[in-house]
């Protein structure tokens, strides 16, 4: 009977395991394998030239990838921090609304419903130096126009603003679901003890929301490494490399320069860095949960 159960488990899981291997592990193995070669297309076929760790050794000197990695980490930390703060405040505000809640939820969801290509195009127009609405409004207020996409420092800030605008609704959605599932008896007990307003948020809501906040934070942190569309449409990594991100460097290397070996190394290193960061975040979660328990 036990053997029958085991076979059933194996056979029922086998298809999904095979799909997982085919779709996830094989591409990873392939990228890792390619990273040791200089691969060029010539006369109707790929020519693989084994070069060992040369691609890896050249990567630290790469003028696009290294600034891209630094910018991506900066964007993830700064962007996600703002998204979490704004997302929590907005979710809290919506949760207190008695009437028309669905209207506000729909309104805040709009940015994640729009295709990224539309978002990039709209914001590029809005950031325009002479034709953009931001500078038009600033001029109306008598303020000198801002070089949103031309000044290297401001261009990065512009990308952060767009990223925060784009992804805060995602945070709102998850946190709102968390807020609405909080037990009401804790609040009732708190009110009996005299908590209200700010102290209720600090001493009841926030501690109860920590697991949801952490899950949302991890989600957003991982997803923020995938940023591509906004950069591609807004700045294409410029000026200089001030808004370069790893996805854009990898895209350029693979698809524009057709350098499969180097592109593979970039992918492998990115995967390694992101994995390390995820392990760090998961360890933090474990410790926080331990502390909370």
């Amino acid at each position: 009977m036990q053997n029958k159960d085991l076979s059933w488990k194996i056979y029922s899981l086998l298809p999904i395991v095979l799909i997982l291997i085919f779709l996830t592990l094989l591409p990873l193995v392939s990228i890792f394998y390619n990273s040791f070669f200089d691969i060029r297309w010539k006369d109707g076929g790929y020519i693989y030239n084994f070069i060992g760790f040369q691609n890896y050794l050249e990567l630290p000197q790469n003028k696009f990838y290294v600034p891209g990695l630094i910018n991506t980490i900066k964007l993830a930390i700064i962007g996600v921090s703002f998204q979490m703060i704004f997302g929590f405040v907005i979710a809290l505000g919506i949760s207190k609304i008695k009437k028309g809640k669905s209207f506000f939820v729909s309104l805040f969801l709009l940015p994640i419903l729009l295709p990224p290509i539309v978002i990039g195009s709209i914001w590029r127009l809005m950031y325009g130096f002479d034709f953009g609405i931001f500078n038009y409004l600033l001029a109306f207020l008598g303020v000198f126009p801002v070089d949103w996409l031309g000044d290297p420092t401001i261009a990065f800030v512009s990308v952060v603003i767009l990223d925060v605008w784009h992804w805060t609704p995602f945070v709102v959605l998850l946190l709102l679901a968390g807020l609405e599932s909080l037990p009401t008896d804790v609040y009732e007990a708190g009110r009996v003890d005299g908590t209200s307003g700010w102290s209720e948020i600090v001493h009841i809501t926030f501690p109860l929301m920590i697991p949801t906040i952490i899950v949302t934070l991890v989600f957003r942190f991982i997803l923020s490494f995938k940023v591509f569309d906004e950069i591609y449409l807004l700045t294409q990594g410029g000026p200089g490399t001030s808004t370069e991100v790893i996805s854009y460097s990898i895209y350029e290397t693979f698809f524009e320069s057709d350098n499969i070996g180097l592109g593979s190394v970039m992918s492998v290193v990115s995967l390694f860095v992101i994995s390390i960061l995820i392990i760090v975040v998961l360890n933090i979660i474990k410790r926080v949960n331990k502390y909370a328990n």
Binding site: F129, G150, Q236, P239
Partner: protein, 436 residues
Amino acid sequence: MIKKIIAAFAVFILSITISNQVFAGPKLTMLINQSPWFDGFRKTLEIYEAETGASIELDVNPYPAMSEKIRNSIRSPEGIYDIVITSTEFMSTYSDSGMFRNINDLDPDYKLDEGICSYQNTSYWNYDTQSYDAVNGEFIGIPVNGNVQVLYYRRDLYEEKGLTPPKTWDDLIANAAVFHNPPSMYGMIQRSERSSVTYNFGPYMFSYGGSVYKDPSNGDFGIVFNSPEVKAALEKYIEIRDKVGHPNAHAIGQGEMISYLRTGKAAHAIAVIAAWGGMDDPDKSAVVGKLGAALNPAGPEGSASSLGHWEAHIPKNIPDENAHEALDFLKWLVTKENQIKYIENGAVPVRCDLINSPMAEDDQFRFLEALGQNSDVARFIAPNVEAVESTAITNLYLNSIVAGELSIEEGLNKAADELFKLLTKAGKNTSKLSPL
């Protein structure tokens, strides 16, 4: 009733049979980019289809998607596209792929007639020297768009002020200063965004005798991008930006540049002639009839422009029948008679004999003279297999210099070092200059 149905069915079958017999050839597919000259191309293709009964479906893509689509098609066992077109940015890379048919294998007697512009022989690729070579190269492309950069200027304002088009860069500064009144109007708009600054800088660089490579047509890929000539050209480029240009030039791409011209906010710009199509269209432009085109201003070595034309190629991985049909269309397109239709439809011609024809006297086609003059002096910025990577390097450092992140010397030296590494790794005959 039954008789009527049978008769109607017979007529239907007959009509299908007849229509199929008019043109029995295959339906072709062509990869093309969405650009300001596309409408002119499409209209001319429709004339061809009406004349011959042939059918060519266009797969229209934004420019950045072109390279990847070409690569995927020409590398698959059976190609998706019967005709692909390459721009100067990736033309050399794909020319060397070995995946384009030799036109003379399809038609041994066909050759480009002398009226077609040569564009530094980009229709012929020498696989041994990895360079364009009309003598020993294989005939693998037919030009379909003669895009080069020309000087756009506001002829209405010129007439008002009694000015003549600038002959030199200093003339340009002087003329532009008359109109420079930002933000209402900028004397000169430069397109220095990271993705396109090298191309826009080309006319300046060549006019000062500078270049990226020493003598690529003879296999000398020595890096001369940090030469005193390139430095002088870049100093002039930045001087123009500072005196009469847009302070935000390093964030301006082709789209914005065209917007400045069409909205009347630019007195001058060096832009692709393909953008001309919309300048006289009242639905798109506020300066209908007000723009003129001229030869780019000269530096110490005269005027220059940078090639931005497109070549059409017939891949090897399509059926022979399709390849012959594709060649028939391309041969039709570049004839003198059809190039006139091409111009009338708003596309950019590839025949230099038409450019200098009486047609250029017509105000509607007033850009033709400038197109001819600039085509004569246009040069290929990176005519090598590594062009995409090479241009990514020059774009990065030029953009950083224009944005003020690097000094001219530092930026050009760094770019030269990177180019040297790239060409050395590719096994090219290369060298580099002492740092500036």
